[in-house]
Symmetry: C2
């Protein structure tokens, strides 16, 4: 007898003989082979010694199955009795945000129960109003019969607002690339037909033609499929051909030969795979122009908000499932971008992907579990150039896929990509670079050296763990000014619609305004009580009413609670502590920093003054700060067009010194000191006058 | 209206719009999509404009289907009414020799009709005795109802006798390889586990380990599958791993990483894919010993005896079908060799294939049609190293496959392989090299230069086009001495059993003996008439009785006809003319030749004196002749073990000057003069005394 490796609370006598782990009856009954033994992906001879466990070989334990229908798309799925609605939604490919990965802690996975029998766990995360409207949390509601549910309108995700996707921005990007040098080149040739005096083979004839254009054919590889199609391709248009050639580390490869010299434009993709959102640029490789762009939410959100929850999910279900979710997100966006440009996936020959280390591993179905175990190492830091066909990305199967290298488990290719765009590693001034996404990564340095760290800021600034937190999409409060007299807020909303929630820049504004207008104390607690018209008390917790129900799109109060403030203080504290410790490790301090570059999905209106007010950014000359928007997609775009930048990526990744904060007592001290607004030591923030 | 592209005798109005070719109703009705349009393999948008052709879109023209059972294996197949038994046999994967590719000209595709309704074309190629026993020719017999047929016992192919497969021979081969350097190396590593102070990624750790063993990791590629399995492979045996690494032209690649350091022996395959027969050596890559060997008939024989018929068959049916036949042959032999060695296909990591240009193209499913069209060029001369998985060869899918390069359409990798073994291109003496297989290829030269040509000798010496001709397998007459008085022959039979036919060396002996014992004239006609007890007249043709019915295994007379003699005279004439013209092109003559190396499947007992007597070999000092057996498999074995020989293969192929005889009037003159025994000009053969 031992504890089940998936459900440690259960004692069991079934055992996987290879890994010597126990599995409970629940695991044995599971129909999903990937769930059966969590070591399965690494276990070639995985089995259960049923006889030893006293279980009859042929005894099958079948579960009752029930149907779940998801409105408004009417997706239907069968699940065993007792499955949660979240599990059912994942199986049905219905997108539900589940920030906490089904722990019942975030309250985001709301559904409306239309009919059917379920068992519900009690939850404080639904308002009485919501409960009255039959709202349930998908992860806390278990199927007991056929069920029909509906995704609430306010939950259906709206288009993301992604910084830097306008024409002006992409034209500026284009200016950063001097020579366009795609990985896959399309070379047109007009060859001499063979004669008795010139009887070289078709392939030699092709190579001879390529050599004349300057290709180093002594290093040229060619795949079997190309050879199989070669004879016809060369003759179909009378010895005129277009050859796709890829230049790799030191060898070249002929990827394809097609008849004729008139090819449709060759396209490229720059893809930013974020933990939260995914952005795709479709690029004309001839002139570097961004033809169309698309962005959306990473479908992996159904497995939790942050990379840790995604890794846990991959350990349980195998990385393939999460890869499929990311691929579905990416491929939908590619289709959207293609239809926007009236182009065909077969035209896509070059792809650059930028993402954090976990995203890159999951997308490529590479084991991510060791990223979250000491010593926190990735399986792969620098990827070889792959073919689209082997990655599952919608493009010409022979298209080249370059994945941005990342130096560490928690500092990935998205940061390297950001540096390529920011470019401070090519210059003299000492620069602090921070990417506030679902994590918080910091880079310090200049053209001579680079240090980097991850400060576990958490997803609060992207909306995770904040009651009405959301990303910078339609309906998000992105700018707040509070009237000192009435304490009423004046809100700017993304898309000028009724508000649905609050995004990162809005939260920073809110805390800064509440602090300066004395709604909260420096410790983040409210000074006001529930008697003030802008205040509210629910479930024993005080909150500030950002918008009243009749002003909002879902007719509910949008509030900002003490817990929300606490989450954000933890995040800003981690970022500030990260700055401090990294500078300290380099023997420097804030006064020596000549530039602070901020990147991430806050939204367009990040107010640096207010970010200093809350103690997220250091209190130094404001002209030193620069907000770059989404630098990861910008760097991916630059690497897509330029071999120089692709080579630079490897160099950046290899030259970064990674500092691990996880066991650092100095980081803990600095972090604790930074849990005040703006800081325990007010002398560090001389310009912030709380009065 | 136009002529069907498959059946030019039929006028039709159906057309393939892409290729602008006509197809008859027979083609439209065909169920085999590969047979539908012969351009299909090169036609991505292949279709029939049925409307234009006046054919209703949904109208299906179904044919009656009948069942054909093949004894003794009881293989069953359904074919449409009117299909030939040869087509049925090919569909059922029943091996039938069809030297002439179904033209009804060779008489080899004999079957016994047990029951059922058929339509027979009249044929003179079956004896009355055979007709009485219900023998039919498979290609001339058409299904009209359910049919059962049986392969005659004497047709069921026996084990081939392949020269050079004994232990002594392979030990001698082993001595020719100085350093064993496989393409795929298996490197065992014991790595340091990661720590907080050494947090490099798994892949970097692996590369670091490889670098310590001397690998150039800066040129190292790695595939996505390896990365996906890497984390588990490195941890499963506590950071002990075995890495398969392949060295290519200029880059290296990690093919696989497996846990632990105790690997079963790595095996290699040397494969000789002949038009007629296939030989496989299974080799222990650690010490180069040949563990087991197997040989068999190329199943492509069902599509004709020579490369021209194979190409025609591939044009009609696509190269895939012929590739499958060759692969089935090869994979059966691999299984046989593996079971003989009690080894597993997964252990095979290195493969070298030697074959003529057509065999290499067909095996790799590469278009061969331009080999038989002026200017006779191959699609590919020098192949990149492929992976077994993409070729279909039974081995570790990541195993490296090296295909011997070939300089021309009719001088292929088998000849280059033969040179590697013969080695005269490394030495001073002027050497004439001839490979008499299903074709006849000649090389002339030494370490400074190489000239080569193909002399279209035809398959007579391998049994093709000769009534009782067969390969050097069990039951073949391989040595003949004729008593000058009685004119009775004394026969040596392969395997010391009752004779079934005559192989190459036996035919040379027979003609030489018949010439010297005055049974035939120098023009190949019989001096004797049917009254002699050893002579026989059938269908107006005289023949010499080599063995009487009661001495043979199938109780029929084995005879040697005037037509047979004529076929062999054509073959020997082509070979001798080839020698003469090649020497002439080089400004040399026979007196300058210091060595003649003969290779091919004659059998062990090639009698050089007798080959000179018939005028196949030049009349020079007999000590200059050397018979090498199967040099193609020997060279493949050497290249399997040695990188030096693999590199040498490319150099040989590139340095050969190919002389085309196809339009040469000098060749025609020399050929015509050589159609006497030994030659029109007897002065060229002073030692041959016919008396």
């Amino acid at each position: 007898m031992g504890k089940c490796s998936c459900h440690p609370e259960i004692e069991t006598s079934y055992i996987c003989m290879k890994h010597n782990v126990y599995l409970c009856e629940e695991c044995l009954k599971c129909r999903d082979p990937e769930l059966f033994c969590k070591f399965r992906s690494s276990c070639p001879i995985w089995f259960i010694d049923k006889k030893m466990a006293g279980l009859d070989e042929d005894k099958k334990i079948e579960k009752e199955m029930f149907k779940v229908i998801f409105e408004p798309d009417n997706k239907e799925v069968e699940v065993p009795k007792g499955a949660s609605l979240l599990e059912a939604a994942q199986k049905a490919d219905v997108h539900i945000n589940a920030s906490c990965n089904g722990k019942g802690a975030c309250g985001k996975c709301k559904l409306i129960l239309k009919s059917g029998s379920v068992k519900k766990e009690p939850t404080a995360l639904l308002s009485d109003q919501e409960k009255a409207k039959d709202y349930v949390l998908a992860c806390q509601t278990f199927v007991q019969g056929d069920v029909t549910v509906k995704t609430p309108d306010e939950i259906i995700e709206k288009k993301l607002k992604v910084a830097g996707m306008g024409k002006e921005a992409t034209d500026r990007l284009k200016g950063l690339v001097k020579n366009i040098e795609p990985m896959v080149k399309e070379i047109t040739l007009e060859l001499e037909p063979p004669t008795m005096d010139d009887p070289v083979s078709d392939l030699d004839r092709l190579n001879r033609g390529l050599k004349k254009t300057g290709c180093d054919v002594s290093k040229m590889n060619v795949g079997i499929k190309v050879m199989q199609e070669l004879a016809a391709a060369m003759r179909d248009e009378n010895w005129k051909v277009t050859v796709s050639v890829i230049r790799k580390k030191c060898s070249n490869e002929i990827l394809g030969v097609t008849p004729g010299n008139n090819r449709p434009a060759s396209l490229g993709l720059a893809i930013d795979v974020g933990t939260t959102s995914v952005v795709v640029y479709l690029v004309n490789m001839a002139d570097g122009s961004v033809i169309s762009a698309a962005s959306g939410h990473n479908k992996q959100a159904a497995c939790g908000d942050d990379v840790i929850n995604r890794i846990i999910c991959a350990e349980k279900n195998g990385p393939v499932k999460l890869s499929k979710m990311a691929l579905a997100t990416i491929n939908n966006l590619i289709s959207e971008a293609l239809s926007g440009a009236d182009a065909d996936a077969g035209q896509i020959k070059n792809i650059v992907i930028s993402g954090n280390t976990t995203m890159a591993h999951l997308l490529m179905k590479i084991e991510p579990r060791y990223i979250r175990r000491e010593p926190y190492i990735p399986c792969v830091s620098e990827f070889p150039i792959l073919k689209a066909g082997e990655t599952g990305i919608k493009a010409d199967p022979a298209a080249a896929v370059f994945i941005m290298p990342g130096p560490a488990g928690y500092v990935g290719g998205d940061i390297v990509s950001g540096l390529i765009y920011a470019g401070f590693h090519r210059e003299e001034p000492l620069t602090l670079f921070i990417d506030v996404g679902t994590n918080g990564e910091i880079v310090l340095g200049n053209k001579d050296w680079l240090m980097t760290a991850s400060c576990s800021a958490g997803p609060a600034f992207e909306g995770g763990g904040v009651r009405w937190g959301m990303r910078a999409e339609e309906g998000a409060v992105e700018k707040v000014v509070i009237d000192p007299e009435t304490l009423n807020p004046r809100l700017s909303i993304v898309g000028d619609v009724k508000p649905r929630g609050i995004c990162g820049s809005g939260m920073i504004d809110l805390i800064s305004e509440m602090l300066l207008k004395k709604i909260i104390e420096p410790n983040g607690k409210f000074r006001l009580d529930a008697s003030h018209p802008r205040m509210k008390k629910e479930n024993d917790e005080l909150s500030y009413i950002v918008a009243f129900a009749d002003e909002t799109s879902m007719e509910e109060d949008i509030v900002f609670t003490e817990t929300d403030i606490h989450s954000l203080v933890l995040s800003k504290g981690a970022i500030y502590a990260g700055f401090t410790v990294l500078l300290n490790q380099a023997g420097l301090d804030f006064s020596m920093v000549e530039r602070v570059i901020i990147t991430g999905g806050f939204g367009q209106f990040l107010d640096v003054d207010k970010a200093v007010n809350i103690g997220m950014l250091p209190d130094i000359d404001r002209s030193k700060f620069k907000y770059l928007g989404n630098s990861s997609i910008a760097g991916a775009y630059m690497a897509l067009l330029s071999d120089e930048y692709r080579q630079e990526a490897g160099k950046i990744s290899n030259s970064m010194t990674y500092i691990d904060f996880s066991g650092s007592s100095m980081f803990m001290d600095e972090f604790t000191s930074a849990l005040f607004l703006p800081h325990t030591n007010v002398e560090k923030f001389p310009s912030v006058k709380i009065g």
